[in-house]
């Protein structure tokens, strides 16, 4: 029997929290659509 949707989401959330911060920042600070005319910190 597959886990309930809430349990699946909980597992996904736990996995996200274990992403290494340094790998995440590599991507967040260098990637993403860059838009002019608004504020990018």
């Amino acid at each position: 029997m597959s886990p309930a949707p809430d349990a699946r989401f909980g597992a996904a959330l736990e996995r996200m929290e274990h992403v290494a911060l340094v790998d995440l920042l590599d991507r967040l600070l260098a990637g993403g659509v860059v838009l002019a005319g608004e504020i990018t910190l």
């Binding site: 996904a12 959330l13 996200m16 929290e17 992403v19 290494a20 911060l21 340094v22 790998d23 995440l24 920042l25 590599d26 991507r27 967040l28 600070l29 260098a30 990637g31 993403g32 659509v33 860059v34 838009l35 005319g37 608004e38 504020i39 990018t40 910190l41």
Partner: protein
């Protein structure tokens, strides 16, 4: 300058919150993340942006559709690779060689051995990147992370990102196994799947973004 711990904690909290939203959205369909900490003052401003750049954004969404970002890092492992070749080893102390001289020669040979190992590892890393890039639809290189950042003693020699057609993810996995076997002096580490953070630029510079 040392960043206060409270700032680091806030950065981590914000980065993870951003990632949580993007990854949750990415489960529902093609997603183009905006650059982290891009602020729109209100919904009207964000809607105006989407409207003004609709064509570019739609092209970006088509580019990342049915594709997944994987990260591959390679570390130079310790071991035989850093041992200097026999010919470069200084003669043992004794004879006409004073202990101090022998020590310095040994240190120099060790240093040169490490340099050679690092050069060879970087060359191998380039080969690995080229092989993975050939399987991926697009590839990008992130800056190498320092041992202080990774908390590992092993130096990083590759920090790549690969946007792979979902249909070719198994090919990438097979390629990684082959590469790991062919490069025993390096340790490969795979991260992801990631939302296409490294490939969200709406104007790609050709197929290779690195």
């Amino acid at each position: 300058m040392r960043i206060p711990e409270s700032w680091q904690a806030r950065l981590e909290r914000t980065a993870r919150a951003h990632h949580r939203v993007i990854e949750t959205l990415a489960r529902t369909g093609p997603t183009l993340p905006l650059r982290f900490a891009t602020i729109y003052r209100d919904d009207r401003c964000s809607e105006a942006m989407i409207h003004a750049r609709r064509t570019e954004l739609e092209a970006g969404l088509r580019r990342v559709a049915h594709r997944t970002e994987r990260g591959v890092k390679a570390y130079l492992t310790r071991g035989p690779a850093v041992t200097p070749p026999e010919a470069d080893r200084p003669r043992p102390a004794g004879g006409d060689q004073r202990p101090g001289t022998a020590y310095l020669l040994r240190r120099r040979a060790q240093h040169e051995g490490r340099q050679r190992a690092a050069t060879r590892a970087l060359d191998e890393a380039r080969q690995i990147h080229a092989a993975l890039a050939a399987t991926a639809a697009e590839s990008a290189l992130h800056p190498l992370q320092s041992p202080e950042t990774t908390g590992r003693g092993e130096p990083m020699v590759l920090n790549g990102a690969y946007l792979v057609d979902d249909a070719r993810l198994r090919d990438l996995d097979r390629e990684l196994v082959t590469l790991a076997l062919h490069h025993p002096g390096l340790r490969l580490e795979v991260t992801g799947p990631w939302p296409p953070y490294s490939f969200s630029g709406v104007e790609p510079a050709g197929g290779e973004r690195s």
